[in-house]
């Protein structure tokens, strides 16, 4: 009998062309996703060699990072060099025969949103993209990770990547989550428990009852924030939920090929008795709606919790850490986080801007109005998400409540484009990073689920979704 293997190990073994023996291997890359920040530059080594790409059909591109999200947008960007990136990538994709979901194409969107949506990412495959949140796509049961520009050059020319084998970690969620608790709360809670460095050097597999119960879009949200735990890869084994989601999508296999694929995919989940380098358990019944209070995703508490008090910190390092974070976010030590007034509410990003996120937020917004003076934005994750939402009338709910309804892109997740929040404002955001200045100079970001963002938008302050819903 062969050794029991983990999901990760099976995918790694099935893609390893050569083991260099020093912890590094040459892996086949099944899919590569490119975006406007790469521009034409990433094609330079191909140009210099005058060579063709071996497999252009395995590469896809879109515009998402530097572009504007206002209606009527063009190639112009407010950020220097953005337009050159957009046009350079477009030119090169044409030249090399790469499929591009360009501005104006309804399939255009945030790279990690359109990839599952189009069925481009398949269970058991390898996928890279030049953005660290590529781990998102691991929610479909594949190995997906963020690569650097030099690595992408290598993939374009050779369809392979030299990768260092990570250690394996499994996080088991025991029990069921309570009503009002989302995948965003599950992952924020986990990062809070384990810390922002816990996943350094690891591939993380999320497992257990509460994970299995999640629909695919929620699994993508979980895997998305693996990198906030410093793990380059996050994955959730594919199952019937995954197959139902993928079936019939444009780039997913069809007919007999589909059946063959499913048969193979069913062999991939971690075997009983497979050994992980590290195992962690999370009690899913303890999770409540979460919100961050500081400047790292690990600085997170339940919405019914209190801001930590540096005076009560155990040691000097901890005290200094808390003081620094609170100096930036300007919260009162020991105070309840609930009812903290906010200035900005943002729903968007590859973490939480899929149709299910928009539906959930719209449920809260229906018949309600955004509180006075609040800047509220919704940026759908892709053109298709936007179209679907509009067909359901969700755009009207957002607009009638007082939200701006924008064009798809990364927008305020990364604030590279012209999109800006008011300086020093307090934002509640469905994104993934609450670092200093991430969403604009001095902007204080509180990460939460889209439902919590919608709730805060209408009350004008941090609100426990469980109270508002009832």
């Amino acid at each position: 009998m062969s050794q029991p293997r983990t999901l990760f190990q099976k995918i790694w073994d099935d893609h390893e062309i050569k083991d260099f023996g020093n912890g590094y291997s040459l892996l086949h890359v099944d899919r590569d996703i490119m975006h406007d920040l790469l521009g034409s530059l990433v094609f330079e080594p191909l140009d210099k060699r005058g060579m063709k790409m071996p497999n252009p059909e395995l590469h896809f591109a879109t515009m998402d990072h530097g572009i504007e999200t206002e209606t009527g947008r063009t190639d112009e960007t407010k950020i220097a060099g953005g337009k050159a990136g957009v046009q350079g990538l477009r030119r090169k994709c044409k030249e090399y025969g790469i499929t591009m979901f360009d501005l104006g194409d309804e399939r255009q969107g945030i790279c990690h949103v359109f990839t599952p949506e189009q069925g481009i990412a398949l269970p058991g495959s390898t996928l890279i993209c030049g953005d660290s949140h590529t781990s998102t796509i691991g929610g479909l049961g594949l190995l997906a990770w963020g690569a650097g520009l030099t690595e992408i050059e290598h993939v374009l020319a050779t369809q392979t990547i030299v990768a260092q084998k990570p250690k394996t970690m499994r996080i088991n969620f025991e029990g069921k989550t309570a009503p009002g608790v989302t995948a965003k709360d599950m992952i924020l809670y986990t990062i809070g428990q384990l810390g922002a460095k816990a996943g350094n050097g690891y591939v993380v597999e999320y497992a257990g009852e509460a994970v299995r119960a999640l629909p695919v879009e929620a699994r993508l949200t979980m895997a998305n924030m693996s990198i906030e735990m410093a793990a380059r890869y996050g994955m959730i084994a594919a199952d019937d939920t995954t197959f139902d989601y993928l079936k019939g999508r444009p780039y997913a296999p069809k007919g007999e090929m589909w059946d063959k694929a499913v048969e193979y995919w069913r062999t991939l989940p971690t075997d009983d008795g497979a050994v992980f380098d590290r195992e962690e358990t999370i009690d899913a019944t303890k999770i409540v709606p979460m919100i961050t209070w500081g400047t790292s995703p690990q600085d997170v508490i339940g919405v019914d919790g209190h801001v930590p008090d540096p005076a009560k910190a155990g040691d000097a390092d901890k005290k200094a850490y808390l003081e620094r974070a609170l100096a930036y976010t300007g919260l009162t030590p020991g105070a309840a986080i609930e009812d903290t007034p906010i200035d900005v509410a943002f729903i968007g990003s590859c973490t939480n801007a899929r149709i299910s996120d928009l539906r959930a937020a719209a449920n809260i917004l229906k018949g309600r109005k955004v509180a006075d003076g609040i800047q509220a934005w919704c940026v759908p994750g892709s053109g298709l998400v936007k179209k679907e939402a509009e067909a359901e009338g969700i755009d009207k709910v957002f607009k009638e409540a007082g939200f701006e309804w924008r064009e798809p892109g990364c927008s305020m997740c990364v604030s590279l484009g012209g999109d800006k929040f008011k300086q020093g404002g307090r934002a509640i955001s469905s994104t993934n990073r609450n670092f200093e200045n991430r969403q604009g100079v001095g902007v204080r970001t509180h990460l939460a689920s889209p439902e919590m963002v919608a709730a805060a938008a209408v009350t004008g302050k941090v609100t426990d979704i469980r109270k508002l819903a009832s």
Binding site: D14, I17, K18, F20, N22, L26, H28, D30, L37, G39, S40, L41, E44, P45, K48, R49, N55, E57, L58, G66, T77, I79, A80, G81, G82, A84, G85, G88, L122, G124, S125, S132, G146, G148, L149, T150, E151, E153, H154, A157, T158, Q159, T160, V162, N200, G201, Y251, P253, M257, W258, K260, A261, Y264, L416
Partner: protein
């Protein structure tokens, strides 16, 4: 593309701080400049926020790199965890674009460390005491430091020599100026054979 790294002699500049992150090395607002400047054009933005006033042009007189005698620095001395933070490879390009081909520090951020080798920059690990010793000589006006990668030595301005460790494969990459794409393409037949076999096993993964 095929440049290598064998020996390096030049001015060393001390920037003795812990945890200098990639955002300090190259602030994020410069990232999209890549399509104007190429990888080689980031030198002017190196340590952007520390080096320049808000207008992004006027040098801040108290920042070490703005002292005239450090203008042509080729080596940077730092403290622990240099290059930590976000994974941007642009940080390495900014150093290299400026002319810095070697950073000497007691430890480095992992991704930054890897990115250095891809760009023929040497991240050289030396213990803190040795770095302090070199920095002390620099402070007295002797600023020339030499590195011999083959011999794995750093020679301080006063001639004192320190040895350093480096992984064999990485050393080879730098010494030979190995171009990763070229190396992989030499084994293209093997990749092609692997793909053909895989195509039979997982045909749905190939979209042609």
């Amino acid at each position: 593309m095929n440049e290598s790294f064998t020996t390096l002699t030049g001015t060393a500049v001390p920037l003795l701080r812990n945890n200098i992150d990639t955002d300090a090395i190259l602030p994020s607002r410069f990232l999209t400049r890549i399509n104007e400047t190429g990888k080689d054009g980031f030198g002017g933005f190196l340590f952007g926020d520390w080096r320049f006033e808000k207008d992004e042009k006027t040098p801040k007189p108290d920042f070490v790199l703005n002292a005239p005698y450090y203008k042509d620095a080729k080596i940077l001395l730092a403290r622990d965890n240099f290059g930590c933070g976000s994974s941007r490879e642009h940080a390495v390009w900014a150093l290299k674009g400026y002319g810095i081909r070697c950073v000497i520090a007691p430890s480095f951020g992992e991704i930054f460390f890897n990115n250095c080798f891809k760009n023929m920059v040497l991240p050289l690990v030396l213990d803190e005491a040795s770095i302090e010793a070199i920095a002390a000589q620099i402070a007295e006006g002797q600023r020339e430091v030499s590195i011999d990668l083959e011999a794995q030595t750093v020679t301080a301005p006063d001639g004192t020599t320190f040895t350093f460790d480096i992984d064999g494969a990485r050393k080879e990459t730098l010494l030979k100026g190995l171009d990763a794409i070229g190396v992989t393409l030499e084994g293209w037949d093997e990749i092609k054979a692997w793909q053909d076999a895989d195509r039979a096993k997982r045909p749905w993964n190939y979209l042609d």
